[in-house]
């Protein structure tokens, strides 16, 4: 929302993010409210489930809809120095963005930087798919080529069909993982800053040609890459 607010729905999601965001408005069934330890909200409206259904954007509405204030975190590139971070170059699908935030939370990735044309993190579908990840992972919007030029001293990874087999690479425990747009991949201006090109091996045989129609969904590729970074960090030492 332009308003600086965002919408979240669903019993589990709202309960999980309520402690982390300022809540402007909460519309819920008394049954759901009764289960919450404290409801620190500006405006609270108790309604019947039928009323929630009418206001809901979800296919299967539940007992609560909440409006939160979008937090303002100033971006500091220093925050990326000693961590593993994700950069998203033009992700268009809000479900993909939310799913990436959710897996970043799982894999202890604290910061995601998106290109300015990436879908809004506060799109209700992104919030929904993040499953509470937006409360733990900070998402910023910055120009990626400029940022990557300032982070040249870090390894900058990207996934490509003609990259190096990720399982044969010694992956760093700090650096940047760049994921590209669903249809077009990583932009040339961003790609030229990438120092380590990774390839997720398919099965049974590696892809011969990048003409292949086969590929992986961007959130799926991000997940396999993040899992391998963490596996090496935990087990290969």
């Amino acid at each position: 929302m332009e308003s600086g607010l965002f919408l979240a729905e669903g019993n589990k999601l709202v309960a999980s993010i309520l402690p982390f965001f300022e809540c402007e408005l909460l519309i819920a069934c008394p049954s759901w409210m009764a289960m919450q330890e404290n409801l620190n909200v500006k405006e609270l409206i108790a309604v019947e489930e039928e009323e929630v259904k009418k206001a809901s954007l979800l296919k299967n509405p539940q007992e609560v809809i909440a409006v939160f204030v979008q937090p303002q975190h100033p971006f500091r590139k220093e925050a990326l120095e000693n961590e593993l971070s994700l950069l998203l170059d033009g992700i268009q699908d809000p479900g993909n963005l939310g799913t990436i935030i959710r897996l970043a939370d799982w894999f202890g990735i604290k910061n995601i930087v998106c290109s300015p044309d990436t879908v809004d993190v506060y799109n209700p579908k992104s919030v929904q798919a993040s499953m509470g990840g937006i409360a733990k992972v900070q998402v910023f919007y910055e120009s990626l080529p400029e940022l990557l030029m300032e982070l040249k001293h870090l390894p900058i990874y990207g996934a490509f069909l003609e990259g190096n087999d990720i399982y044969r690479e010694k992956l760093s425990d700090k650096g940047i993982i760049v994921m590209g747009n669903e249809g077009n991949g990583i932009r040339p201006e961003t790609e030229k800053e990438i120092s380590n090109r990774l390839y997720i091996p398919n099965y049974p045989s590696p892809i011969e040609s990048i003409e292949s129609t086969e590929s992986l969904n961007v959130a799926v590729a991000a997940a396999i890459i993040c899992a391998e970074f963490r596996r090496q960090q935990i087990y290969s030492q």
Copy 2:
């Protein structure tokens, strides 16, 4: 569709599945048709891009919409004997199903068996998300507990927050991987047939309690699990 037909849209998707399915109807721009080597379709309608936009279900319609015949593959449980296969227990989101079909294709998994209440593979959103995977991966609908009882001699894997660390398990190159419903996971009747409980380690520290709100999207979890099965098969020998 009840009709035994299904819809596919998009220049790349339709081109990639056209050789594999019987096409009842193709509505496309001459520009797209000109790029196809052969158009073996029952009915062909050339229209302008504007017309495609009017008929499209997509946010960003392209130059072609096609109606295909749903193929009828009889299910044979013998097909699962010497392979790695996926079983889906009540997946509700068509995007998740399509994404799982797409990654199954990537990882050379030829068969997916879904519980009868899993979303329809021919839902336009499933077809879209599979990105052509539906032409390579066969998807069946069967009662999972009965099927698993007949496959007891195979290792039957499932992902659980209190399972064994997948990276410390010696994974089999044949067997069944069961993935559960987005909200409720694997059904008890199905779960009791599972012989190997796997856990995808999070980072930095393994989850202490299954009460944790953290989790992974089902397609993301399936991807990390399938990637690890194939990694061990390719590299750990």
